[in-house]
């Protein structure tokens, strides 16, 4: 991963969905290449990490095997001015990208998953763009059931669906070093929605059968 540095602090968020080997590198933009005597350090928080110098930059190689290795990694260039770029390594919360479709009166299960890293806690929110409301399943136990199936998978079961339940839901995984969110969209339809094309198709079938039947009677009468 390459990053060009110029005067302002730069940040990049990287979501990881599984344990991986990562190479982070900082590269100076060509217009600054004239700068000499640059002291480069890579830090995780306050801890200094040994780095390798490459042709046109400085890089570190990391094995992200568990949650403790996540966090923020910065490369700091000290010359006349100090330049810094930070990579935020976060676990990725996997959630279905396509909307989940359910029917009124039924139930829906929203699932969020984090591979390889087990969150400390999960929280579910309902959002309508600007505000987030936490879902409390103990208060509204007849409506919402939150189940932590495995340490890294959470289920939100919504019962007795109505159209108002349509919208965007967020599942937030809390780790020791931060939080990650996943987004899910729920659409609640009435039974009328699929019924219309269904009735149309059935009408077409009945029409065709009638036509064929009448044609056969007609041709038999001709004989």
């Amino acid at each position: 991963l390459l990053l060009g540095i110029h005067g302002l602090p730069l940040a990049k968020r990287i979501s990881l969905d599984r344990a991986a080997e990562i190479k982070l590198s900082c590269r100076l933009k060509s217009k600054y290449s004239h700068l000499k005597n640059l002291q480069v350090t890579w830090k995780k928080g306050s801890e200094i990490i040994p780095h390798n110098k490459t042709e046109n930059g400085w890089s570190i190689q990391l094995m992200i095997s568990d949650v403790s290795k996540l966090g923020s990694y910065s490369c700091i260039l000290k010359g006349e001015e100090e330049m810094r770029a930070t990579f935020y390594l976060q676990p990725k919360v996997e959630a279905k990208e396509k909307p989940i479709i359910s029917y009124r009166g039924g139930m829906a299960i929203l699932i969020c998953k984090v591979s390889d890293y087990a969150p400390v806690a999960w929280t579910w929110y309902r959002t309508n763009g600007s505000e987030q409301i936490a879902i409390n399943d103990s208060v509204l136990a007849h409506k919402y059931v939150i189940n932590r199936v495995f340490a890294n998978i959470t289920h939100l079961k919504i019962l007795k669906l109505t159209e108002e339940d349509s919208g965007i839901y967020l599942c937030e995984a809390a780790f020791k070093l931060g939080k990650s969110k996943g987004k899910l969209q729920l659409k609640v339809l009435t039974y009328m929605v699929p019924l219309k094309p269904f009735v149309a198709v059935v009408a077409e079938v009945v029409a065709l059968i009638t036509i064929i039947f009448l044609y056969e009677i007609y041709s038999k009468k001709k004989e």
Binding site: I109, H155, V193, P194, P197, F198, V205, L208, I212
Partner: protein, 447 residues
């Protein structure tokens, strides 16, 4: 019945039947093939394991095979048309009831059992009636009808995905059920051939001068025995040979679709390119079916010989496929496999008709499907075992190729047997060309 079937329309309304069978193939086999798209949705909705969910398709396939002999005996007793219409209603009810999605067992019963029964009752008579309507052009007609499966499967993939994204899996099931009702429309078009044994016997009776009492009861009785399911088929060595061929072929036919995707991933090919491999498979399958039908129609080679050649070619492609080490080579071998698979499917029903003859064809078809299904059940676990032991998906392809070589051997044996029988019959047969007033009666006596 035999005399009338030896003068089938061979065209004319027969082509309407072919188109209608083409549609039925699409609305049954292609729906079954594409049902996998519903798996993840259903699995997540009921919070079940993937293996539990996949039982739905296992039930559908099992009922499809078990229902085939039932369907064909019903065809013999009632008409093909009635059975297809019943099948359409059953398939529709399976999907429509599946819409209510009460629990997993409900899904097994509806999208599993009812759908399987519906598919069985629609597919079997549709395939069979095409063979009844044609004799010289039978190969071409069968090939065109079977191509329906590929054509529909190609479009159903994206179409089902769109339906699921618009209406959810429940709504999609309901709409697909409605679409399957069109099977009934196709069934309506499958006019029973105006012949049939009873009608013919009536004609002959009207022309016979009164007084030939004994011969009359004879011709009344034999047509009726023709109308029931013929279990005597298992006594005929040709049928047994062909049925065993069917088992071996079925054992190897599922392997490539099953293991192609994992093999592709293990070669480092990503998801979208792998999906394109499956599209290539479907397209060359379609081309293979049509081309084989056209070629078989030229009557240059005997259908049995043609089938032996196509089976050998498939097994060669399968044996070579493990040599693929890149997307291009894999795509080429997949193309060959798919093409020859299409040619085999196109011609194997015609070979069955040539092996057993038209009077027993309906019963033979049902029985053949039933016996063949054992291969389909034994195959997957066996191949999985071999792959696990070898630790490589390529072993599965070698197994499939080897099984097909064995099955080709059976076909050669069958052909030798038939040729010997032909030679025997030619030396023993009395001249049939004399002008007989009631040719049907005479042929019945010979059998």
């Amino acid at each position: 019945m035999q005399a009338k079937d030896s003068n089938p329309p061979d065209g004319g309304y027969g082509w309407v039947v072919v188109v209608s069978a083409f549609m039925v193939m699409g609305l049954t086999a292609a729906v079954l093939k594409t049902f996998g798209l519903f798996f993840v949705e259903i699995q997540q909705h009921f919070d079940e394991l993937a293996s539990t969910t996949s039982w739905i398709t296992s039930v559908t396939i099992a009922i499809f095979h078990l229902g085939a002999p039932v369907a064909s005996s019903l065809c013999v007793r009632y008409t093909h048309r009635a059975v297809v219409i019943t099948g359409g209603l059953l398939a529709f009810s399976g999907m429509a009831l599946g819409f209510f999605g009460l629990n997993m067992v409900w899904m097994y019963a509806t999208t599993g059992f009812l759908q399987g029964l519906g598919i069985s009752f629609s597919w079997t008579p549709a395939i069979s009636i095409v063979s009844h309507y044609f004799s010289k052009k039978r190969a071409l007609a069968n090939a065109v009808a079977s191509a329906g499966e590929c054509a529909f499967a190609f479009t159903f993939g994206p179409f089902f995905q769109w339906l699921i994204s618009q209406y959810g899996w429940k709504g999609a099931l309901l709409i697909i059920g409605g679409i399957q009702l069109n099977i009934c429309v196709c069934g309506m078009l499958m006019r029973p051939l105006a012949s049939g044994c009873l009608l013919e016997a009536r004609h002959s009776r009207a022309e016979t001068p009164p007084g030939s009492g004994a011969s009359r009861t004879d011709e009344e009785k034999s047509p009726i025995t023709h109308k029931t399911f013929n279990w005597m088929l298992v006594r005929r060595p040709e049928f047994v040979l062909y049925a065993v061929f069917g088992i071996l072929a079925a054992m190897s036919f599922f392997v490539p679709p099953l293991f192609l995707v994992p093999l592709s991933y293990s070669l480092g090919i990503d998801e979208s390119w792998t999906a394109s491999l499956l599209s290539i498979l479907a397209m060359v399958d379609f081309a293979g079916r049509l081309l084989c039908g056209w070629y078989a129609n030229l009557h240059i080679t005997k259908t049995v010989h043609l089938l032996t050649m196509t089976i050998t070619l498939i097994s060669t492609s399968l044996m070579l496929l493990p040599l693929a080490n890149s997307y291009l080579s894999l795509a080429i071998f997949t193309g060959f496999y798919g093409f020859f698979f299409g040619t085999t499917v196109a011609v194997h029903i015609t070979v069955l008709a040539d092996v057993v003859g038209m009077p027993d064809f309906d019963s033979a078809l049902g029985l053949f499907m039933l016996i063949r299904s054992t291969g389909g059940f034994v195959g997957p676990p066996l191949a999985g075992l071999i792959v696990d032991m070898a630790g490589d998906y390529r072993a599965g392809f070698y197994m499939a190729g080897a099984t097909l070589v064995l099955s080709a051997g059976l076909l050669v044996t069958l052909d030798q047997f038939q040729q010997r029988k032909e030679r025997g019959r030619q030396t023993n047969a009395k001249p049939e060309k004399s002008a007989l007033p009631y040719p049907s009666l005479h042929l019945l006596k010979l059998q």
